[in-house]
Symmetry: C4
């Protein structure tokens, strides 16, 4: 009996010797489909039939994950420990919108609808991606802090500068320093929406100066994250599948 | 006779000992000219004479490639094998618009007109560029998958977040989550068209956060492709012309 | 008595053996809070109570830093040397807005209000960030000069070119070469606000050409700064805390 | 007498043993000032006095460079060889606008006014920058060709695709494929002016796909140029001043 229970947990975690990852793949596929459904649901001109279908699909998904949660609680060797673990709480939160089925007027509660998005986190349960990402962020935490501080200061100085130059001429555009901060973010990341544009000579010279110095500093965090993720990915590929990740990173340090 | 046929195939493939690449260069030049002609044809204020000239040019190009196709079929040692090969099918598809000459009313069929663009693929027949590119993509397939998945999740989360913040205030701009996804693509690639811009404080703070984390993740695929293409190019330059590419990549792995 | 004075200076500089960095942390936190206050103050629809609170907060901050200044002057072993040192002058300038308390009509003097921003510089007094940044800039001074000159020339040529193409068609947009220079900055940094856009065929072809050549040259300074800051950061992390920075960079050169 | 002439040439070329680079610096400064003057001249609301001043400044600059040209012709050991050399022709073209002084009605001839910009090229005569840049471009010629071809094809395919999707809905925006090509350039370089924006679902999905693949390919040329210029700069700094550049690059190859 214990064996059979352990087998079911293995099945849900994608570590079952025979049926392998098929169940996990099906559940992850369901999560992705429901993510698409949540997006499509918000489209305004949706025909009634599609709306109905999405509603029924949502209930099906909720019931499937409720079933998964109950199975995990029943089959877990220590149910309480699972219930209060990180992934146990995520699994519980992801099925909370079921309450709206019992009390239909709760559907209006926005937070309940947003809880459905927590399902996305479940994608990371059986994949290495989250581990990889957190490893990457941990490896560059120091650099990110320094660059983040420099970038924040650069943005603040840019916002104050452009406010001084542009506020007297465009008081309805550059209304305040927090508003100018939004301009600084859009400009120094080179997004450049064009909703706020300096028009004075001083403001333009200042922008030119800030762009030439600031792009390098504001581009820092992005460059660090790209590099770190590429590094973490390389390590992940090099290690044989199933190897202990912590062990590997220790070896990395010994080198 | 067989020799002469083989010589013609060599001529068309740019491997002829004496006349070298001249025929291939002429055919590729014709493809490029027809690509320009297809673009110019769509310009609205074109004088009638230019329109006529482009029509005749198009027919000439079609006839030249029909001639090439027939020559290849006749001169190939195994005609059927050529006809059903990848490049044989491409060559056939590229001359299908000739049907519009026989049945003028088919000119209206759009798909027939677009088939002319398949000629561009013929450019890759005798060049190493396609080989290089496919090699580059194969080498980074794993990294592209991981980054593609992270970028897709980042875009989805950004779209949902901005929808939650901006939809109540700008319901006609951020109409739905798929619409917000378009905003997320334009913002996180730093294109920033400016057709959709957050105006709430929450939306702007969320955008700032997403830009600082997301640029690094969304820039990942582009950085990987640039690097891979540069690497593939380097290998291509280092290897002597005519060397076996697969052999070389094996050597790379042995290192 | 001398010991006690030295102890107070150590406390303010964050080098006190027991109370450690607590005082510095409190003072830096106060600077960051006042930076936020300066930004919030400019928001137009602020309720009177918030305005009053920010006014009192500003006076408190000024008094705290005036107290710090007086303490440093009194406790310094050589008061005059401190007063005329770089950080002594910064500390003095940062409390100059106190004059507005004595003569309320001086509040209108803009320069006096902007002096409050000098406080931000005080953040660097006890941190290594400024040292790191100046080291990074010094290391790439030569490269920055070459790239800066090339980028300036690229921008000038782009501005003249686009003026020649667009001025006759859009005289109200591309009014002059200095105006076109603003377009060149916004385009070649890929910010692309969209306030000035070429519409002639020549102008667009010229822009395409400039973008393909110019992006590489204009992106140079930013790439150099990112790399230099990452390098400087790496060196900073590797060196044990408290080690002599100049010594370390010598070792770097010996390698 | 020959010695004195050679001395004058040395003076103009900045290789004079005693007076060193002072004359070259003065002449280059004059070129930069005249570049600024050309830009300022185009500003519409310039007062008459400034206009007059710029006119007189322009004449002075022209006379100075006419004097330099005459001196070089007279003092050159082989005047004809100088006159027909590359730099001799540049020097001559740069003073051609003097003709407008003799025949005032020629001032209207635009090409004559633009010739003044050729002076900028004279900046490179005595500097190493042009040498560095041309060395950098030569080193990456092969890679630039491959990437340029891929980028051109990517832009063409993007333009055709967006035309197919957007022309039926926005015929006044995406009028033709050449117009769509302008959209492709502005989007794939991430400039994103916002003058042309896809609004159909198909067009937006296509843009997303193209951005994820295309950014890596279109960013290629810029990345190659940045890297090559940084490399060329490094070599330039490492070599002792006055060393033979060609020699050095040979050593590079031998390594």
């Amino acid at each position: 009996m214990v064996m059979r229970r352990a087998g079911i947990i293995q099945l849900l975690d994608g570590r079952h010797p025979r049926n392998g990852r098929s169940v996990t793949f099906a559940l992850n596929g369901l999560i992705l489909l429901s993510a698409i459904a949540i997006a499509v649901e918000t489209m305004p001109d949706l025909p009634d039939r599609a709306q109905d279908f999405l509603g029924w699909f949502e209930i099906t998904v909720l019931l499937v994950f409720a079933l998964e949660y109950l199975t995990r609680v029943i089959c877990s060797p220590r149910p309480l420990r699972y219930i209060f673990s990180f992934w146990g709480l995520i699994d519980l939160l992801a099925i909370l919108p079921l309450l709206a089925l019992l009390q239909p007027q709760w559907t209006a509660v926005r937070i309940l609808r947003l809880l459905r998005l927590i399902r996305l986190l479940k994608l990371f349960h059986t994949s290495l991606a989250l581990d990889r990402m957190s490893r990457a962020f941990r490896a560059v935490r120091g650099e990110l802090t320094v660059f983040g501080a420099l970038a924040a200061m650069m943005l603040y100085v840019s916002a104050v500068g452009i406010y001084v130059f542009e506020h007297p001429v465009q008081p309805e555009a550059f209304t305040s320093i927090p508003m100018s901060l939004w301009w600084a973010v859009a400009s120094l990341t080179t997004v450049g929406y064009g909703d706020l544009v300096p028009i004075t000579l001083g403001g333009r010279l200042f922008t030119t100066l800030m762009l030439f110095i600031g792009l390098g500093i504001v581009a820092g965090p992005a460059a660090i994250i790209t590099t770190a993720l590429l590094e973490a990915d390389k390590f992940g590929v090099e290690s044989p599948p199933g190897s202990n990740t912590k062990n590997m990173s220790n070896k990395e340090i010994k080198k």
